[in-house]
């Protein structure tokens, strides 16, 4: 399994001292967090793409290109890339460029954005959300796989004899995940292409995601990409750890209580009961994360949300130390021991895709 972190890139006031980082501080903090992820042995760093305050990461490939230059093993990914409002031609070119700079350490996750107004900001209509995701992604695949593309669709100008540049590294496009929290159509899309399906399960109860992932697995098999249990599933997680679990609860509670997404609603105890959020000792995080397998089957990618709700950088880096040193090594061993041989350990890496292409 691949383990990593994903970030929303929110600028949020630290509720314990009222301090709000500047955009510059937050952007540099995201980079520091990515570098730390590699240092502590994680596999993946994924950044969100947002075009509204209080979020800063509007330009993921700029950030990931910079991180690529300062890392050696880390896979650079997104959470998510807006397949609805970005021009698929620009996505094809930006991420092919990133592949070359990062020597293939790139995959990406398609999504539809966090807010309705993002559609008109980029000249699109939210009512076309799903059709845009379908048409744009189909074109993106062709731009990566065919050197010369003639194309006509509903949502952008036609292309004649168009070549997106640079061509994907080694002629192999990056692996693609499709992220969704509720749309069965996106599970269907991921299954149709044999792509990965990332269920961002961190804010909602698991019963919903079991159904969504089951649909993806069934349809992955239906479209002939392998058995249902061989489909590529990614999951989110959200943790806060201290050696003594009561210390973790006490320290995290003000951040939880004031968090932009769920603050002033359910209690920390209720939310940990209903969602994957785990606040406690490293062992509690290990036990909880292993239980995901019981609900969703063997899966290939686990991304944790670690830096949000105004947590200071120093704390986030400490959390990553604990995650990398005490939690992930155990999870790697345990998940690997449980995984049947016919189930892929990870989604295909660039090296694996190159090998498959030349076979």
């Amino acid at each position: 399994m691949q383990f990593g972190i994903f970030t929303v890139g929110d600028v949020t006031t630290d509720p314990t001292n009222g301090r709000t980082p500047s955009e510059a501080e937050r952007i540099k903090a995201m980079v520091a967090i990515a570098l730390k992820a590699e240092e502590v042995g994680l596999d993946v760093f994924a950044t969100g793409e947002h075009h509204n305050p209080p979020f800063v990461p509007s330009s993921p490939t700029t950030m990931l290109g910079y991180i690529a230059a300062r890392t050696e093993r880390l896979i650079l990914s997104t959470s998510t890339t807006l397949i609805t409002t970005n021009d698929p031609v620009k996505i094809a070119e930006d991420y092919a460029m990133l592949q070359h700079l990062a020597d293939g350490r790139v995959d990406l996750m398609m999504g539809r954005g966090n807010t309705g107004p993002v559609y008109p900001w980029f000249g699109k209509d939210i009512r076309d959300g799903i059709p845009l995701a379908i048409e744009n992604y189909h074109l993106l695949r062709r731009l990566w796989r065919e050197d010369v593309v003639d194309w006509e669709g509903k949502y952008r100008t036609p292309l004649q004899s168009f070549t997106s540049t640079p061509r994907p590294l080694d002629g192999v496009p990056p692996f693609v995940w499709h992220g969704s929290i509720r749309s069965p159509q996106i599970a269907e899309q991921a299954a149709y292409y044999g792509d990965g399906f990332f269920a961002n399960n961190i804010f909602w109860p698991k019963e919903h995601f079991i159904q969504l992932i089951d649909l993806y697995r069934r349809r992955f098999e239906h479209y002939g990409h392998g058995q249902a249990d061989q489909a590529y599933v990614g999951l989110g997680g959200q943790v806060f750890m201290r050696r003594n679990s009561q210390d973790a609860v006490n320290e995290f509670r003000p951040y939880f209580d004031n968090a932009p997404v769920y603050g002033h609603g359910p209690s920390l105890e209720e939310f940990t009961e209903e969602t994957p959020l785990t606040v406690g000792s490293p062992q509690q995080v290990i036990d909880r994360t292993l239980s995901f397998r019981d609900s969703f089957g063997d899966y290939q990618r686990q991304l944790f949300l670690m830096d949000h709700a105004g947590l200071p950088l120093k704390t986030v880096l400490e959390q990553l130390d604990i995650l990398g040193e005490e939690v992930v090594p155990v999870l790697r061993k345990e998940f690997e021991a449980l995984r049947p041989a016919h189930v892929p350990a990870t989604a295909p890496t660039h090296a694996q895709l190159v090998k498959e292409a030349t076979r």
Partner: protein
């Protein structure tokens, strides 16, 4: 024939509550006309969960079961106290967290309570449009009970029986409610979506 189910939602805040009392009277009259299993719901019990649902976008487990009971029922009796010329905030919040298609076509009997009969038309001006918007089939008679009605039971009983009879007939005229599974295999293939 399978037994029908009737969800009875009361947004009364007091205990005991005259809103719940009216809801129970309506339920008893409806089941006298058409045998049905009654699921009684006090929104007061879910007040905290409803606030959480507004903030997080998902219903905690206990509220989820209640929502499923209401959306899966063959008929609905919905009774609110009238506050400031309209339904109570708690009542509205419950219907706000339902999927917007959840009550489509469902027979609904609306009722309300208040201190004086002066507020009775809030049922027609506020509560009925809410259910019209949700495309429920609200029966023609809505029942308002003012404090004084509980003393003069003859008139209220007549209105309760009239409305309950209409609800029973509307439920009986429809096939039993079926829940659609949004995660079933899609009816249209992805190829068709691509060429649409």
């Amino acid at each position: 024939m399978t037994e029908r189910t009737l969800a009875v939602v009361s947004a009364g805040l007091g205990q005991p509550s005259s809103t719940r009392l009216l809801a129970d009277r309506l339920a008893a009259a409806a089941t006298a006309a058409l045998p049905a299993e009654v699921v009684a719901i006090e929104l007061r019990d879910h007040a905290h969960d409803l606030a959480s649902n507004l903030v997080t976008g998902f219903a905690p487990a206990a509220l989820r079961r209640t929502i499923d009971a209401v959306t899966g029922a063959d008929g609905l009796i919905a009774v609110t106290p009238i506050f400031n010329a309209s339904y109570s905030g708690l009542f509205k919040t419950f219907f706000d967290v339902l999927d917007k298609e959840a009550l489509e076509g469902k027979p609904v009997l609306i009722g309300a309570t208040g201190g004086t009969a002066r507020h009775s038309l809030a049922l027609e001006h506020a509560v009925r449009p809410l259910f019209s918007y949700l495309r429920a089939r609200t029966v023609p008679t809505a029942v308002y009970a003012a404090t004084e009605d509980w003393a003069d039971s003859g008139d209220l009983v007549g209105r309760v029986e009239q409305a309950a009879g209409e609800l029973a007939a509307a439920v009986e005229a429809r096939p039993p409610a079926v829940r659609e599974d949004p995660y079933a295999d899609p009816a249209t293939s992805f190829e068709d979506l691509l060429t649409a």
